[in-house]
């Protein structure tokens, strides 16, 4: 895979890191530069006595550096990678030094251990105390049940008293409920309520938007109460939405789906001190979408091993559910490569039909991935209020999210012609994450 400087800089955790990385992308700052099929390495003189040992596993990519930075990848990793992309001739060493060999070996060993662990677990070597686990689970079930009972009372109060009365409630009307749900160990429901708090002040049509959300919440409570009467997949969706986490080790024991997965786009949303990182993949052979979801607290780095516009050959395991989307990588095969082309929905009507199928299976689905082929970006409006749309050859239009800020960039990429756009559809608006135009991938901020 030929990495481009754009792709590498997109891995930077923030703008200062990108700038510092660019500053280090020059042979003058490095010694003992080298690269082989698997890795690239070099020594970079920092402010300390000994130079830092910086190395990249090119297959993913993965980074490691002996510098003390908490950023990931650090500026040395980015600088080394940029230098490799722009001046490969500077990497004269072909034989990796010991510290590179050791790291590559330890990575391979860890991957191996993960597989072995799966085998062990499959062989029935239970290492956890089943009784204690069952007790904890029962206690949580009880807490969630009580929490949702209280929430139902709150919800019915709103229905009885009317939405108009909600509009005059103080902010702690929402905050109190959110806090109770957090205490009840139902963080997913807490989030749903938190997201409603701003709606009463969101202008025209707020009552419809609020009612929609409230009714979806009611549906969730009803679903939870019915529990075992529902199909298993629906129960799983309900439990996942409430906030039960799936045991990933168990998942990894399942058979995965191997494909060439194109990284369509990524989005990071911050809430409190938690960053949710969504990475959307599209299987070249299967035509299926997959969502890799990571959470990072505070200073924790985001996953830098997915490069938008690149293809990974990997086996994914989907989380169970009525419309499986979320997945984890079970194993990668071979290095990251370039896409053969891009696939997606040829018409907006097709994309919408797929969306219909998805919410019919999982009515709580919040973000639906939509790769749209051959759509034209459009702008309507005048100086102070503008609205952005995409339109397909049949004339069907999807409205873009009002908070999406890269409308002009999208228009510049298209030049008024058809391009491919990937975005998240929330049922009302599309939020574009990337575009494919004139054989180039571009991502939006």
């Amino acid at each position: 895979m030929n990495w481009t400087a754009e792709q590498i800089l997109a891995l930077a955790p923030d703008a200062p890191s990108a700038k510092a990385g660019q500053g280090l992308a020059t042979a003058r700052k490095w010694q003992a530069l080298g690269a082989d099929e698997q890795a690239a390495w070099g020594l970079c003189q920092g402010s300390g006595k000994d130079p830092y040992q910086t190395q990249i596993d090119l297959t993913e990519p993965a980074f490691r550096c002996s510098c003390p930075s908490r950023k990931f990848p650090c500026k040395h990793g980015l600088g080394l990678f940029l230098l490799l992309a722009t001046q490969p001739a500077a990497f004269k060493e072909k034989r990796p030094p010991d510290w590179v060999v050791e790291w590559v070996a330890s990575r391979a060993k860890r991957a191996q251990q993960r597989v072995e662990k799966q085998v062990k677990v499959e062989a029935g070597e239970k290492t956890v105390d089943a009784a204690a686990q069952a007790k904890r689970a029962a206690s949580r079930d009880a807490k969630v049940t009580t929490g949702l009972q209280e929430l139902e009372v709150w919800l019915r109060d709103i229905a009885r008293g009317g939405l108009a009365a909600v509009q005059s409630q103080p902010p702690n009307f929402w905050e109190r409920t959110v806090a109770r749900l957090v205490d009840a160990q139902a963080p997913g429901v807490a989030r749903l309520v938190r997201e409603m708090a701003g709606i009463p002040a969101s202008g025209e049509g707020w009552e419809g938007r609020l009612l929609e959300r409230l009714s979806r919440l009611y549906l969730l409570i009803e679903g939870f109460k019915r529990g075992a009467d529902l199909p298993e997949a629906v129960q799983t969706d309900i439990r996942a939405l409430i906030g039960w986490t799936q045991n990933q080790e168990e998942l990894l024991r399942l058979d995965g789906m191997r494909d060439r997965w194109l990284v369509l786009g990524q989005r990071v949303e911050e809430e409190d001190r938690l960053r949710a990182h969504r990475i959307w993949l599209w299987g070249e052979r299967s035509g299926r979408a997959a969502l890799i979801l990571h959470f990072a607290h505070g200073q924790q780095p985001l996953d830098a091993s997915f490069v938008t516009g690149a293809v990974i050959d990997a086996e994914l395991v989907y989380f169970p559910g009525a419309y499986p989307l979320r997945a984890i990588v079970k194993q990668r095969h071979g290095p990251t490569s370039s896409p053969d082309g891009i696939s997606g929905y040829p018409k907006i009507a097709d994309a919408h039909e797929a969306f219909t199928g998805a919410i019919a299976a999982n009515p709580w689905l919040e973000k639906f991935p939509m790769p749209l082929l051959n759509v034209t970006p459009l702008r309507h409006g005048h100086e102070h209020s503008e609205m952005w749309f995409v339109r397909d050859a049949e004339g069907r239009v999807l409205r873009l999210a009002p908070r999406f800020e890269s409308g002009w960039t999208m228009l510049a990429l298209s030049g008024g012609r058809e391009i491919d756009i990937f975005g998240e559809w929330d049922g009302d608006h599309l939020w574009p994450l990337s575009a494919f135009a004139e054989n180039r991938f571009a991502k939006f901020r």
Binding site: G23, S47, L211, S215, P363, R391, W408, A412
Partner: protein, 501 residues
Amino acid sequence: MSLWNEITNTALIGCERKPLSLNPQADKLGGLLTQLGQSDREGALLGAAAVVSLYGRAGSLPSKDTRPLPEPCQPDDAPRCSGLSGIHLATMLRGEYQQLAPEWLSKVAAAGRRAPEELLPPLLELGRIQEDLREAILTVLGARGRWLAAQNPDWDYAVGGLDERLWETGSRERRLSFLAEMRRRDAARARELLMSSWAQESPKDRADLLPLFGYGLSLDDESFLESALDDRRKEVRRAAADLLTRLPESALRQRTLERVRPLLTFKLNRLRRKTIEVTLPEACDKAMQRDGVEPKPYSHGVGEKAWWLQQMLGVIPPGVWPRESGWTIRELIEGAERCDWKSALIEGWSQAARLHRDGEWADALLAETYKQGQVEYLFQVLPPARQEAFIIELLKKDPSLHTSKPARSYVATCWRQWGEQLSRAVMNSLLHHAATDRFKDGWMWSGFTDYIGCRLDPALIPETISRLTDATKPPAERAPAIEQFLNFIQFRHEMLKEIRQ
């Protein structure tokens, strides 16, 4: 009323006061809705809302818009710059190394390339804020950039035709930038527009609009500018006089020359040396004031009459005097030195050399006056080679770039790109500081080193980096301004190398 509207209306009021009553149709949706028991009012309301909203979300196909699409952009002839060049531009558009943006723009345009599409919006936005960059930005926009700009009134400076409605209805700021742009493109049309609205413009607007005639100034503007000399507002009169002095052949220049000519006599003194005899003007009459002569001196220590002469001399192209006297410039300056009103003559000629960008005069005057300092404006008028030789000479005497040294301010004001020799002289000065004071006064270097970084001969950058890096070891003790300088010229080096490839 639709089902959904009925449900929201009930929800708004609350089902305590008004239970939900629907008359669903006999379809599948109706079937579902009738299953919701009416005894549980809240459950019925929330349940119906869930069913109907999901039904609508799943079932309503996105609407069609069959209006004709706007005209797409024509394909671009010029190829896009390389991906790495685009990253360099993006870095500058984010505000890093921004001083190098003009060089990126001109070099990419010279290479026949254009800016990448995704950077067109921030680039057009930069031009909106920084008018001095517009011309350079236009050269890398390509067909795509001009097409895009045509759709955003903020970027109309980049569009082929100017919309004259902006002049009629635009904000003050818009009208100013409109007139500036119109002067560049069609000076006569701009003059027509301003003349037609002149009487209605506020005095403040008149004072701000008139100086824009500096773009595309020609003799065709003269009669309008002459009329502005009689304006009620002083700033307007001042601006008109300044513009007229810049016009060769203008009547104002001619009138001034006629006033000054009888005041100067070129003759030999008793020792048979060339000398200038000066008769000071007797009064500053209305006509002189109308032509921009200020009656009161700006500073004390200058006599009124000498001040009037000095101002008038400052307007007349200095090239006139060798013709009038038959003497060389050198001889004229010597002649001035022998007369009583030396400073009025030298000051007046210096002003004139600057106003008319007369390099020969500036060179001669600078040799005379640089000891007195404060003559950077004369330096600006020198031809490039002379400027560089001048600084090199100063640095030879004293390599220091300390703020107290004369070379410092000339280095800071030598704006164009430096040749190899001057670049080398400045590099040696930096090495001199590395060896002596180790750049310990940070305040003296931050900012100043960016000037140097922008103008240094690109061919000398690798040598400068390696020698200055060596001279300021170890890195941990390197002055931050120098570390920054090394990064700056490194970036410039990479940027230029990538464009050349």
